[in-house]
């Protein structure tokens, strides 16, 4: 499960009453009615045997979708866009970009 460190996908209900709208021009911080997974052509696949947990991928992911999970890295595939920065920057080539 994705911890509360990251906002989660939130179901959007079309407002039917004025009270359903947010106060002010925006919804709450971290309100995410849409996933980004559909943007991907390639997905990162981690080879945990090669990974030395240096966290370079974690640091550089533009979307922050790589997380620390008990000494292993884990990727939130709902929001990963498949940019390949993690795989390109990994000093151990422990991430492979695989066609969806």
């Amino acid at each position: 499960m994705i911890k509360m460190n990251r906002p989660k996908h939130t179901e959007y209900k079309t407002p039917t009453h004025i009270d359903d709208y947010p106060t002010g021009p925006q919804y709450d911080a971290g309100f995410l009615p849409e996933k980004n997974a559909g943007w991907r052509t390639f997905k990162p696949v981690v080879n945990h045997d090669e990974c030395i947990y240096c966290l370079r991928c974690y640091l550089l992911c533009p979307d922050g979708t790589i997380m620390k999970d008990n000494g292993k890295i884990k990727i939130d595939m709902d929001y990963c866009k498949g940019c390949g920065v993690c795989a390109h920057e990994c000093p151990k080539d422990a991430i492979e970009m695989v066609k969806e």
Binding site: L32, C61, P62, G64, Y79, A87
Partner: protein, 302 residues
Amino acid sequence: MTKVLDIPKVNAKNMTEKEFFYGHKACAGCGGSIAVRLALKVLGERTYSALPAGCMSAVGFIYPQMAFNSNAIITTFPGSASMAAGIAAGAKALGQKDFKTVVFAGDGGTADIGFQALSGMIDRNDDVLYICYDNEAYMNTGIQKSGLTPYGTKTTTTPAGQNIPGTVTHKKNLFEIIAAHDIAYAATASIGYPQDFINKVNKAKHVKGASFIHVYASCPTGWGTPTETSVEIAKDAVDCGLIFLAEYEDGEYKLNRNPKEFKSVEEYLKKQGRFKHMSDADIQCVIENRDKKWERMRKNWL
């Protein structure tokens, strides 16, 4: 100002697990979003962000989506520094403590249109950290030339053709213009050197008063580069000497990296669609300008 030695180091191992810029709609591999995400992780939860029109606000606030996970607001294009100054003053008047106010503005929003408000903010020494993420053009509106677009760049307002080789001016000297205000802390950085950027944000976090960071942040869409090379390109820019890493503190300039040898400018340029058309003479012009700049920096700052 808090002594540098007293500031606890932040790195990938010990930084907060929380994400404050998440689920945004930036293009895959966007360098600006690396800069915003890392800066917000260093600054922490008690942060007010102010963003003028530009990519980072456009991709963060797509109604009803709200990709900022801490307080954030879109400002008028020329007014981000004054709005941030107001936020900082307002929070102080409410008795709030231990918070930081930050601006994330593009190169156009900083060096051109937002400049007057920024100059006033530094002059008043408002308690704001202003971060300019520099992708070297007005990207959000489709790649127009800004004051920070470098020589030779092909943009929609400076197209490359028989009459001009793309942009015919060199980058504005933003860092020194800011330092000339005698600001408490200013720095340049690149997402290609992420730990250096993190250290500088961390330092600026502890400055009371105005501080400024100019961070070089690649844009695969506007630069014509593969999405996975965003960090590599931003590192190449520093290694070939077109981007320099420096600080201005207590009235002194400091050159953080002074390489004995530069990597190839040509290789850096030819990796990017925006420079592909450049002739040897144009590349020579870029190199000469680089060398002049470094000669001056080495003479005056070392």
